[in-house]
């Protein structure tokens, strides 16, 4: 065993032996940026989140393909897709939990950017996976109307974005590990609103896909969630060391 490896500069650190050219510096910075991003994503269990999001896409495909609808009209048909969208939002919110706490906050200059980028990227990926599941079901169903996602992809985008915003707000208020609380509570509220015919825009899944008020409300929530998770980050746990 030798200590030779220890003399190798850490990726991203300034060159030790003489000045390097701008290309080398850029390369080193890119490598450092990639390493930082990868470590951040791994520490947030993003790979597992992606697997679970893909599972939700498959579940949505199965639900639409085999018509797991709830009897009772157009509103009732939203329940299962909405539950799946809630699950996706809950997973995204839970990825905000960081295991390193104060040291990471103190030393991580790029942490806010990483938090924002991860949340936006995961929301976009979740939207893509769920849209793909819905499209696959529609195609497999031979284009039949019964295999269509209620409200289409516009409603999917609005609902998922709004509920992800709620998840991020929950993470800010309760901690990343409890980011699921907001979307799940909202699901129960939405379910009650759908069952009893409430149509306030703040319960956006009850509104038609192109409803402006619902889109504004969902947009405000995701914007607030993204701003707060970027600026403040998730609440740090007190006594509990948090999840893996």
């Amino acid at each position: 065993m030798t200590a030779a490896g220890l003399h190798r500069p850490a990726p991203g650190s300034p060159p030790v032996h003489g000045p390097a050219g701008p290309a080398a510096t850029l390369r080193l910075r890119a490598a450092a940026g990639w390493r930082l991003t990868r470590l951040y994503l791994v520490s947030r269990r993003v790979p597992m989140a992606l697997v679970l999001l893909a599972g939700l896409g498959v579940l949505l495909w199965a639900a639409l393909r085999w018509r797991w609808n709830i009897a009772g009209g157009a509103a009732a048909k939203q329940f299962i897709p909405l539950t799946i969208e809630t699950g996706a939002a809950a997973l995204i919110a839970v990825t905000t939990y960081g295991p390193f706490g104060e040291p990471e906050r103190a030393a991580g200059r790029w942490l806010p950017v990483l938090r924002l980028a991860a949340a936006v990227a995961l929301t976009a990926i979740a939207f893509g996976l769920l849209s793909a599941g819905a499209a696959a079901a529609h195609i497999a169903d031979g284009g039949a109307a019964a295999g269509v996602l209620p409200g289409g992809t516009i409603a999917l985008l609005r609902n998922l974005a709004g509920m992800t915003g709620l998840g991020l707000l929950s993470a800010v208020a309760l901690g990343g590990a409890f980011g699921w609380v907001g979307p799940m509570a909202y699901l129960v509220v939405t379910e009650a609103a759908l069952a009893h015919g409430s149509v306030t825009p703040w319960v956006w899944p009850t509104r038609p896909p192109f409803d402006r008020g619902a889109a504004v409300c969902a947009g405000l929530v995701i914007a607030a969630g993204l701003v707060l998770i970027t600026v403040r980050g998730p609440r740090e746990p007190g006594g509990d060391p948090g999840p893996a």
Binding site: M48, L52, A71, T83, T86, G179, M184, L187, A195
Partner: protein, 523 residues
Amino acid sequence: MTAATSAPARPRAPRAARVVPLSAWRLLRVELRRNAMPWILPLIAALFWFDSYRPSIQTEPLYVIRTFWNLGQGGTIIDFGPFVAAVAAWMGSRDGRRRLADLVTATPRPRWTAQLATWAATAIWAVAAYLVFVGVMFAMYARQGVGGAPPWWWVAVGVTGVIAFSAAGFAVGVFWPSRFAAPVAAFGSALILLMSSRTGFTHTSGWAMILPTNSNGNFQNDSGISYPWLPDLPIARIMFLAGIAAAVLGVTGLPARAGGPGLRRAAAVIAVAGLALAGTATGLASSARLTAHGMAIPGLHDAASDAPIAYTPVCGHAAGVPVCLNPAYGRWLPAITGALAPELAEVAGLPGAPARATQVATGYTGGPVAPPGPPVATGAAGPPQALTLTGQPAVLRLSLGMLNMPGPCGFCDGPVNGTQFAGQVRLMFAHAFVGAGSAPGSPAQRAVQAALLRGAGIPFAAQPLVMGHTDNFPGAPRSKSATGPIYAAARRFAALPATARHAWLAAHLAALRAGQLTLKDLP
């Protein structure tokens, strides 16, 4: 010093071993204190209020209707289940998250028993909260004078459901100590409950009766008012949910680190017994059959459950005719007597005019899942009618469980106002009086019915609307205008002086009821 002290010491009888050692209670107390469940309870309370309580108070003040959604369709379980499962998963994954699994495995107490203490504390918090929330809801109902008996068996189903979800969530956390365990447990529970509802809406019999949010067969009409809530189906569901809970908790005791061989064998036995219990319950539910009082399961049915609930009726008078109702419907006595009075005055003294009116129990009729209310028409006989005339002297039998009473409704388009209600009662009385039964009636019967309604203050022009609004009224008109030969005959008949109408009815009522008269026979 006495001889007793010098006597050889007798071996002391061994103290009876405690069934549950003191240290286990201490452990449970610690787990109760350190549990995460209390933190989520305020949120569940808010959701419970929003989803289970608030909508229910917009319905008729009868327990069978107030609790149709929140207990019959499992609304309270939907409010609790996902959150309880998630928090239980969080608690179950605690040792794994803290990297303490190896450490706690080395402690004298077997890991599985320690885990059971954690689960028990979680379940105790959840069940206590469920009971408190439902208790407060029932107390509010009692303050509002809600009639009938609370569905206690369905509360027990809810309690067992909470236990089952806590056990399932806990098992998820034990086997997958990840940050995603809680959201996955919550999502899975929500999906299961929605799928259970979905299956319940389409499967009105068979194995699906075991599902916790399937409301078929036990939340209709006069349960808890005229006859007791049948416990058969709730017992089967309690068995099923308890079996599920036992099975998943048993499975958590199977890994090698859970404890010694004896303990793991016990866990295996519990898991198998739980599965057997759940399977047995499903089999029992499959054999459920719909009776007049709800779902009866032959293997669980107690004939004593069929005895009607004894009560002292509340009575009033309508045009001198005594009208007696179940006390649960007492608040509507003035509305009923007010609705009946004009027609009872109109037919007073005629053969077959009711000597009294009394409320009778409304039987279950099956059909697709529906809130309490008018039964669904089955077969060619037509739907059973809410008002019937039977006996000699005639008694007007009021099956009020079929009607939406005046006031908040909750399961119809909007509140039922007094005029609407009176119109429907008068229509059904006239329909019964002319002997049309569950059929639309002959043209002559319909003409006399229209004339009686006219005499009771419902203009001809308004009658098609009243018929359209009366659920399951046989032969509801296709046209909204009161025209045609039937209404022409009715107008002719109504134009007669009251004494002439009365005299004609006295002479021809038997033939009219037998369907022997035509429109031409009317004066």
